[in-house]
């Protein structure tokens, strides 16, 4: 075995792991409900692949190979747990499936079940996204902890607790009944969007946190759309994320300085991503079932129009926000609405919208203060604007955003 061969194998294992991780974990845990054991078994299988494949060559069907190896490891794990009686049925199931499934590529895709399990109402909503990132994408706790600004050990413990609850709490591995489906699907979509981490894109407040998970979130949304191709909100979610992603290259100057959406050069936006976003959005609209993510995507779509028309239709954006507030009056939506009406109808109208937002809720909500500062400045209220700029600066996490706001203040 030579070095480059080993490197190739490494890359193959990585690729197969990325593409198949969720499918394998979902399939391995669907009967046992034991995510931790399924993950352990799969990681044993991946380690084993790294030592076998360079010598024996990459198998024709790497996914089936991993499944067989993982299943063997899982049977060992279950035997070791000394709960033979309780595990007997799942052992039987594992064995039963092992022959046919290992030999064919075709084993059922249980990822949708897994996504619904991760976002189950019995699990702490704050853990929905971390669970998905770990069980469906195979991200490790340390990486997830970074993105969520939680100590790695704490994140590990919280993931462990959530999995214990899934195993012992009777959370069913199934797609919810039609009656529950809309609410349950919302939770799945929310969790994917939380990984994306960008509240909205048109003002100085977008949270940096989730940004390094943006690609993972888009991947999850694609998986979900593949599994539920006729859900308009899933199309909306993907469209929204693609629109935001399209602008990534334009968000920073060559010197690293922050550039707000209104000052971005549309030539730097990614047109293939915008086109894909538009395709998903129009497909969603043809289904005639409006929803939060379609509206959010529509707002981003209007912004994207500037590349063609050279101007931003703030009246259209304000109208979409009005509809959005009716179904989802989140803080971010209200602040976004204020910013839009300030452009469409004048800053005093925007300020009135800001004044109607609950005082306690905005004490440490950065985007509110950024919008407020901008509107006050336009009204010529310099002193109050400076105060709001201070608040927005003090609450910002990104040094480039802080610098931008301090410059605006002066």
């Amino acid at each position: 075995m030579n070095g480059s061969n080993q490197q190739d194998t490494h890359r193959t294992v990585e690729r197969v792991a990325r593409e198949s991780y969720g499918r394998l974990v979902a399939y391995l845990s669907v009967h046992t409900h034991d995510l931790a054991s399924a993950e352990d078994a799969l990681s044993n299988a991946l380690v084993s692949a790294l030592s076998h494949w360079p010598q024996d060559g990459v198998p024709q069907n790497p996914e089936a190979w991993l499944l067989t190896a993982a299943r063997r490891s899982l049977i060992d794990v279950i035997r070791h747990q000394h709960v033979v009686q309780a595990s007997e049925p799942s052992l039987a199931l594992l064995k039963e499936n092992s022959t046919e499934a290992a030999l064919s590529t075709e084993f059922p895709d249980e990822r949708l079940n897994l996504l619904f399990v991760c976002a189950h109402p019995a699990i702490d909503p704050a853990m929905h996204t971390p669970l998905m990132l770990q069980t469906v994408l195979g991200l490790d706790a340390a990486r997830i902890a970074q993105a969520f600004l939680i100590a790695p050990k704490t994140m590990g413990q919280r993931l462990f607790r959530a999995k214990t609850k899934i195993r012992s709490g009777g959370i069913p591995f199934e797609i919810p009944q039609e009656r529950d489906l809309p609410a349950r699907l919302d939770a799945v979509i929310e969790a994917i969007y939380a990984a994306f981490g960008i509240g909205w894109d048109d003002m100085v407040g977008a949270d940096q946190r989730g940004r390094d998970l943006a690609e993972e979130a888009i991947w999850l949304a694609r998986v979900l759309l593949q599994l539920m191709p006729s859900e308009a909100e899933v199309q909306g979610l993907l469209a929204l994320m693609l629109h935001c992603e399209a602008r990534r290259p334009a968000r920073r100057g060559a010197d690293g300085r922050y550039i707000p959406l209104s000052e971005q050069d549309p030539k730097q936006w990614s047109f293939p991503l915008i086109e894909e976003a538009e395709r998903h959005l129009s497909e969603a609209f043809t289904q005639g079932r409006s929803g939060r993510f379609q509206l959010e995507a529509a707002i981003q779509s209007v912004h994207a129009e500037r590349a063609r028309t050279g101007r931003t239709d703030w009246t259209a954006i304000a109208l979409f926000y009005e509809r959005l507030i009716r179904i989802s009056p989140a803080l971010g939506t209200q602040a976004g609405y204020a910013a839009a009406v300030a452009e469409a109808k004048g800053p005093e109208v925007g300020l009135a919208v800001l004044e109607s937002i609950d005082r306690d809720a905005i004490a440490d909500y950065q985007p509110y203060w950024a919008v407020r500062a901008h509107i006050l400045q336009r009204l010529g209220k310099t002193r109050e604007a400076a105060d709001a700029y201070d608040r927005a600066t003090g609450l910002a996490e990104d040094p480039a955003v802080r610098e931008f706001l301090l410059k605006r203040r002066s």
Binding site: R391, T393, E397
Partner: protein, 123 residues
Amino acid sequence: MQFALMIYHTPEEFDMRKNDYSDPHLGAWRAYYRALVDAGVYVGADALEVPETGTTVRLRDGKRRVQDGPYADTKEQLAGFIILELPSVDAALEWAARCPGASIGVVEVRPLAKEALRRGFTG
């Protein structure tokens, strides 16, 4: 719950401490302080002089040992601290991430010792 945010500066960061009010570095700190106070989480804070002004004292075998300079021989040195009243360590990490000191140096978050222990000290 009270948390201490201990701010460790790099030498470059210590150099940035000018008393010039147009200084963007200072502007960021002032804004951060305001945000803490206005959010109602601020308990207290202070900044330390540069590490070279520190002196360490030890008593060993009845002898005093006094040395120039700070205690730890590390690149980052303690530059100041902030005490905050917050519901959870998650919230403390949020505020630590917003701290201008986190984007160059390091901010350590640690809970203050339990009330009983602190009362033991203060009597």
